[in-house]
Symmetry: C2
Subunit: 620 residues, 2 copies
């Protein structure tokens, strides 16, 4: 992960994304257990490798205890139990030492803040699956989308298109979505309440797992079922429901699982003469324009097309704010190709970059994820498609740039049975969040599925003649912007006083995504400051730096706290020194340190920081 | 219009948006007549004022002919007819002289080009009302939206929100949309074909108007009916249909007009338990968040909130590409206020700016539009609301900046009977296009309608208590981005050889909206150019200048022609001089002139041009 961390450090203006917590107080037992669970879920190959000897000691001590018990040697039992206790403590202390500093997110405090400062809130008071983004979150989202366009579209000179959400039924029939874009639901046979079958099973099994008296075999069985639940078909879901005797939340019998299509239907035209659906993904618009885009591209492959757009999915149980919505923004790329020569050339510069991969094979063998260089992943055939490897590492760089913690980022390969109907191979970029690992982006090898099925179903649209026997293949990277936004908020969240009140929360956003880059503070209300404020405003406008001017209702300290809550990285204070000496102070959010600069240099200084021409460390 | 023209000139790099055509060849009779019609439709106050003496001469000569006829004085008839003929010719020559140079748009040639280079095309082959934007148009659209955000949101530090399209029915019931967001349709009583009543009447009356034998009274009656058709209610539409004996396109009787709601319905949830509509405007999301936004704003008014989003309208007869779509992007602002003091301060700097206004009173009195300074419009009470005046002039500046010809831009006030159900006063920014005057933006004084009606219908959402007796008022500027995009394409379209083939079309886009700013051309295929190309690429990336590299399949001349068709303003040619002397040529699209610059200065030179630190005139 070295290089991603370097990116991360550079973007945070030289501040270190600390990796250990050696300086903290000794932990309570409860905290040590919490850390154990966290590290198990995190499954970081770097941390796990450092824990191996400690875990080995625990394993060996456990064996010794068991042997002593078998031998009924009470003295040896006493000794080995002490040994085991000691080994466990050593492991926990090591775990504590290796615990990533910002790994624990104070979920309650964060989501209170997000609501209080209107980052986002449920739309229409409480309509499930629909979210309103407030001013700070819209600004961050726009910055993320702009950075996405810069990082992918501009840098690789992709073609961007924009197609409507309303899509005629025959298109989504031909693409397979009408028949196969479904979730399985079960109904309470008495009340008719609807549940998503996999969610119901998951909740039930997770509740069972909390039983302390559970046998090891029982636990393993539950864990195995849990890991597969999303991949089961209707009959398999039904078997699990029968086996564990699942009931509805009202305690009633459940119907057999049936598929429910996730698309919203709409009627087009004055008489509703055409059935359409709101698109559940943006890619069909790209495929249908394939011929026109190929012509635009001078009839040459590779052809790389991107689309940023809203998609709609009638989720049965939307939840976790932006993590599962009924309407959200997707950023998608379709890379059409017959050879990967051009990508190999670009990949040459990235071969030594590292990322964390969790292959289908390792998942099935119940092994952890591992760190690979791009080169290693290709040579060992962990990633078989060089184009998928290219977009995965490029995405790791992108996600790190915008504030996703590389230590909480992994790429997980889909197992055969969980693959979408159009995919040949598929990897998800996943981030560890307060609700567990969440998919932020998908990388699927769609081969020539789409062009073939659309052209067979819709020859008229694509006007591909029967002579076109060879179709180009397609790799599709696809990014869920809402999920990325919420993860950036979680991974950037900090508290100055995590253990007391007020906790003084702030966000350590990368400068590229911060909602507003600077606040201007007149120290008190006085007209003599006006010309300086106007001067600074003009400098910031010229440098295209977003800012606000904060009135003097509150003390300067209170105003800093409020700016911290929005994650505004810089505060420019205009005071008597400005009038007397022509200087202002600039305060930086993560260090709370201040520097003094001439009022005439404010725009230049911030511009240099933002463009990376200097760093806060060098200035302070 | 002086100042808007100055903006226009500055943006086009010092090139003059020519206002007259004195150098052109003498026109044919047909062209002179075409010009007369064009200028009548344009109704430019500047041009009309210059034509007054010529029109007066025609009027006087006509009277003299009539008098001579009444006197049966054949000699005088002959003399005065000659006089009249001469007066008419003088008028037409003056009209020809005053005809704006780029006023006539070669519609066929433009729309051929837009299709051939995939600026846009009908989605799904021919689904009415849905459009796919291709790469060049998406880039231009993104530039327009970015400029809108800079010009309005950033500059006035508005709060931006993002709300979903899916909106519960009760919200749109409370806002009045379920009952009143309708068009009147009529049906062919035999075939059941559906027509929009106003469109059917309009087409019929326009056809009747072409009858050369029509009496003056008949003509005036038709024109009066035509001007009112969009404002009629069901009974009035029925009367007109009866009066003119309108039939369906199949010649059958028509049903009485009935209202058809323009919103698309969708069912939310696993069992479709909630009826929702796709929003037809973005403003409800802002109103519903009023309390939260007011809190975010420190409980202070004015509060100015913006939203950029997709809206949906089930138009009965979508047409004219992006001018009337079923799904399009709106950029809306809600300005909540109790006083206009802050706006008056900002407006102070804009009081001498001019715009063209067509008041309801002038429309009803069948008078032309007039030019006003902002000051004049307010003093004469043509615009009664100072906040509307502020947004109108700011919008005139914005529209001019992005490439709308200020000579083809006017602001038309709604007459009482055409006002939307929520509006107190309303003005449209309209542009003259190939299909006539098209509304690009609306400015409506919604008073406190929305907050009142939503809080009465939806107290739970807004949580406005009964003590809140005073509601702030609202002014809403609203921009249709698709229409603006298509108008920019029309107003920027040029032909190097309008009278012969090939016409060599190009676009004179302002640099802020051009889809790609520069093309890099190796003169021929040769690896020796690679390092120079990479160097230039790096410079352009650093300066955040969009570019492409054009392969050598075609001659350099052919490549220039293809870049002209996309409106790429600058072409950088790398040739033997680059290798020998370290220089490249830069070609500018409108002048086709080239300058030679050191290869090391390419990024700096283009950056200076784009930021307005220099102009092409100064460089060449």
């Amino acid at each position: 992960m070295y290089k991603l961390n370097v990116i991360s450090r550079a973007l945070y203006g030289g501040r270190l994304y600390s990796e250990s917590a050696t300086q903290r107080k000794l932990p309570t037992k409860r905290l040590r257990e919490k850390i154990s669970v966290y590290l198990k879920v995190l499954g970081s190959p770097t941390i796990e490798s450092k824990l191996i000897p400690y875990k080995e000691n625990v394993r060996r001590a456990t064996e010794q205890v068991e042997e002593a018990k078998r031998n009924n040697d009470s003295e040896a039992v006493k000794q080995t139990v002490d040994l085991l206790k000691n080994a466990k403590e050593q492991l926990q202390i090591k775990e504590y030492e290796l615990m990533p500093e910002n790994g624990f997110v104070d979920q309650l405090s964060l989501y209170d803040l997000l609501t209080n400062r209107f980052f986002f809130d449920r739309s229409f008071t409480s309509q499930p699956g629909l979210i309103d983004l407030g001013p700070a979150a819209v600004a961050i989202k726009n910055n993320i989308v702009n950075e996405w366009r810069r990082h992918f579209i501009k840098s690789d000179r992709m073609l961007e298109v924009e197609c409507p959400s309303l899509t005629p039924a025959e298109v989504l029939k031909a693409s397979g979505h009408v028949d196969r874009f479904t979730d399985f639901i079960v109904k309470d046979v008495k009340t008719n309440d609807t549940y998503r079958a996999d969610h119901l099973i998951k909740e039930h099994l997770e509740a069972l797992l909390k039983d302390k008296k559970l046998s090891r075999e029982g636990k393993e069985k539950l864990e195995k079922n849990l890991s597969q639940v999303e991949t089961l078909n209707a009959d398999e879901l039904h078997s699990v429901i029968e086996e564990f005797g699942l009931k509805s939340k009202n305690g009633n019998e459940l119907s057999r699982p049936t598929p429910l299509n996730l698309m919203f239907a709409a009627q087009l035209g004055g008489q509703g003469e055409n059935t359409a659906y709101l698109r559940p993904e943006t890619s069909q618009g790209i495929f249908l324009n394939f011929r026109k885009l190929l012509a635009y591209n001078g009839q040459r492959l590779p052809l790389t097309v991107a689309q940023v757009g809203t998609v709609f999915r009638n989720e049965v149980s939307p939840k976790h704010n932006l993590f599962r919505l009924r309407e959200f923004t997707l950023c998608e790329i379709e890379h059409f190709y017959t050879t990967s020569d051009d990508i190999r050339l670009k990949l040459d510069k990235l071969l030594d970059m590292e990322f964390t991969l969790w292959s289908a094979e390792d998942q099935e063998a119940e092994k952890s994820s591992r760190n690979y260089t791009v080169k290693g992943a290709l040579e060992n055939n962990v990633i078989s498609n060089v184009i998928i490897a290219y977009y995965m590492i490029r995405s790791a760089i992108f996600l790190t740039k915008i504030g996703i913690d590389p230590q909480r980022l992994r790429f997980r390969q889909h197992r055969r049975q969980e693959m979408a109907h159009y995919a040949n191979d598929c990897w998800d970029a996943e981030a560890l969040t307060t609700v567990g690992w969440v998919e932020l982006a998908g990388f699927s090898d769609r081969s020539s599925y789409d062009l073939k099925s659309l052209s067979q179903g819709l020859n008229i649209y694509l006007s591909i003649s029967s002579e076109d026997l060879e179709y180009p293949k397609v790799v599709e990277p696809s990014f869920g912007i809402g999920r990325i936004l919420q993860t950036v908020l979680e991974h950037s969240f900090r508290q100055r006083n995590p253990d007391s009140e007020p906790k003084n929360p702030y966000f350590a956003f990368p400068l590229t995504v911060a909602p507003i880059l600077a606040s201007i503070y007149p120290i008190v209300r006085d007209d003599k400051f006006n010309t300086y404020i106007t001067d600074i405003e003009d400098q910031l406008k010229d440098a295209d730096i977003s800012f606000n001017v904060v009135d003097t209702r509150y003390s300067i300290g209170k105003r800093y706290i409020k700016a911290d809550e929005l994650g505004i990285p810089f505060g420019i204070t205009v005071d008597d020194n400005t009038v007397n000496n022509g200087t202002v102070t600039i305060r930086e959010i993560t260090t709370m340190q201040q520097i003094t600069v001439p009022v005439t240099k404010v725009g230049q200084t911030l511009s240099d920081l933002i463009k990376g021409r200097t760093s806060w460390d060098r200035l302070k």
